[in-house]
């Protein structure tokens, strides 16, 4: 299956699809968890490009702010009004999730090309991308609770802490499912 996956990703169009999806998803994810922010007031711009690392970064590196959200240990100013909060575990998480999302979308594109609508499950495979985006937390509560005005129950609070692993699982299953479908289709085509 790995061979099949690489053979698809080595094709330029699928690779680009995966790459663009990866970048877009990583940006959305970092924005959703509050690690990529825009400030609107020019006077707050501290620098066009600068990196600030906290002196006690080692103490904070793996400190959790909420489930699967870790302390930022530094700040990158990307232009006058864009800040990227540096949290190594969250950047790794973003990369893993982004890769899975990118590959899933590339595979959906591939199956769509080969089999048309019956093979494309783009929308379905995107479902797994949602939980991490709503897993962000503000000070006391999950961001999603604030955004849609939910009343938070103990059950929801517990479920919330499983959003990221749930997403990883969904994306991984989706990936396997897509590859199996392509494999079967390839086999069927060869027989015919």
């Amino acid at each position: 299956m790995t061979k099949l996956l690489f053979s698809i990703l080595f094709k330029k169009r699928f690779f680009l699809t995966a790459l663009i999806s990866f970048v877009v998803y990583v940006l959305i994810y970092l924005g959703a968890v509050g690690h990529l922010v825009f400030t609107f007031r020019m006077s707050e711009a501290e620098s066009f490009f600068a990196i600030k690392i906290l002196p006690n970064w080692q103490d904070l590196l793996f400190r959790q702010r909420s489930p699967f959200l870790f302390e930022a240990v530094g700040l990158v100013y990307l232009g006058p009004n864009i800040k990227l909060f540096l949290s190594l575990p969250n950047l790794v998480l973003a990369a893993i999730l982004g890769s899975l999302v990118g590959i899933n979308i590339a595979l959906s594109y591939h199956t769509f090309q080969k089999m048309g609508l019956s093979g494309g499950r783009g929308v379905l495979s995107l479902l797994g991308t949602v939980p991490p985006i709503v897993s962000g937390a503000v000070c006391c509560v999950p961001t999603i609770v604030l955004l849609i005005g939910l009343q938070l129950t103990a059950t929801l609070a517990t479920a919330w802490s499983f959003f990221v692993p749930l997403s990883l699982l969904l994306l991984f299953l989706s990936l396997i499912w897509s590859l199996k479908k392509i494999q079967t289709e390839n086999y069927r085509t060869r027989i015919l």
Partner: protein, 320 residues
């Protein structure tokens, strides 16, 4: 309530001291405190997931002018010769700033979900003084602090321990002024201001408050009627987020004054149990001061969202 990680500085001696000098608590009080403990829920972040500011650094007013807006909310402290402003946009991310004033431990606390800013002295028992951290739990949407000497839990609005070795004890308070940067600076031009160098990186910018905004028009959580965590007691006489001036005493008497009414009337004289209190509005700071009339002694008064106040003090008298 699960209290998994106990702070390392807890000593058995402190626990024994607190337990041996435990205050007497009436049956009703006991039931209420236990009810609060049973209704404490996780807000999501773990203990200290919201980090208190342990060693606050300060900047001058003119330095703060570079990034604070005139109508930004600040929590002003004028206590024992110590004058400082704590910007809401910083404290919204930390909820507690532990400070030492004249060798006395104090904590400046703010709960965004209930709109309450209260100053506490660190004395939790005889010869036991402590700093506080954020437990990650909430009751009636209100911040539950924990003390680092006994790991007891203290809902901020109540200022009283609902479990642990300090169970039933009350914290002494000092006034915190909820006002704007412009007003505070005008009254205290030499004030110092909590620095953005907190030891953590957060979005302390103008639009950084994740709950909404108090500047210009209220937005987000502050403007909506929705309450995230169901309170123990509800009372629909006022919209949930209406700001009231809350005053309570150690006997459990409580009164809530509609802040807009106080703004209009300037002075309100009312009863708090047997005592007569006089609440005076200060137009310069848009804040208030409450005095027990007979003894001319100040009693703490603070702004609170109505739903939170009534949840903790269901028998409160409301003055509209």
């Amino acid at each position: 309530m699960n209290r998994s990680s106990r702070p390392s500085e807890i000593s058995q001696e402190v626990i024994d001291t607190l337990q041996n000098t435990a205050p007497s608590i009436s049956k009703n009080e006991d039931e209420f405190l236990r009810l609060l403990e049973q209704n404490a829920v996780s807000g999501g972040p773990p203990k200290d997931g919201i980090p208190a500011i342990e060693k606050p650094e300060y900047v001058t007013a003119s330095d703060a002018d570079e990034w604070l807006l005139p109508n930004d909310i600040v929590f002003g402290v004028d206590y024992s010769g110590f004058v400082a402003a704590y910007p809401q946009r910083i404290l919204v991310w930390h909820e507690i700033a532990n400070e030492t004033i004249n060798r006395e431990k104090v904590s400046i606390t703010y709960c965004p979900l209930t709109g309450t800013a209260i100053g506490f002295k660190g004395t939790i028992g005889e010869d036991v003084s402590s700093t506080f951290g954020v437990s990650g739990k909430l009751v009636n949407s209100n911040l539950i602090m924990y003390d680092r000497s006994s790991d007891s839990y203290w809902p901020q609005v109540l200022g009283r321990a609902i479990n642990g070795a300090a169970y039933g004890r009350e914290l002494e308070e000092f006034p915190i002024v909820w006002t704007t940067w412009e007003r505070w600076k005008k009254k205290y031009p030499n004030t110092k201001v909590l620095s953005r160098e907190t030891g953590f990186v957060r979005n302390y910018s103008e639009n950084g408050d994740p709950y909404g905004s108090y500047t210009k028009d209220e937005k987000g959580y502050y403007a909506s009627d929705s309450i995230i965590f169901r309170p123990i007691n509800e009372d629909k006489r006022l919209p949930a987020k209406t700001v009231v001036v809350g005053i309570r005493d150690k006997e459990g008497n409580a009164v809530a004054i509609l802040k807009n009414s106080l703004r209009k009337q300037k002075t309100i004289e009312t009863k708090l149990g047997e005592k007569t209190i006089v609440v005076t509005y200060d137009p310069d700071l848009d804040f208030h001061q409450a005095i027990i009339k007979d003894v001319r002694e100040r009693i703490n008064s603070f702004d609170a969202m109505w739903f939170a106040w009534i949840a903790f003090y269901p028998d409160t008298r409301l003055i509209q």
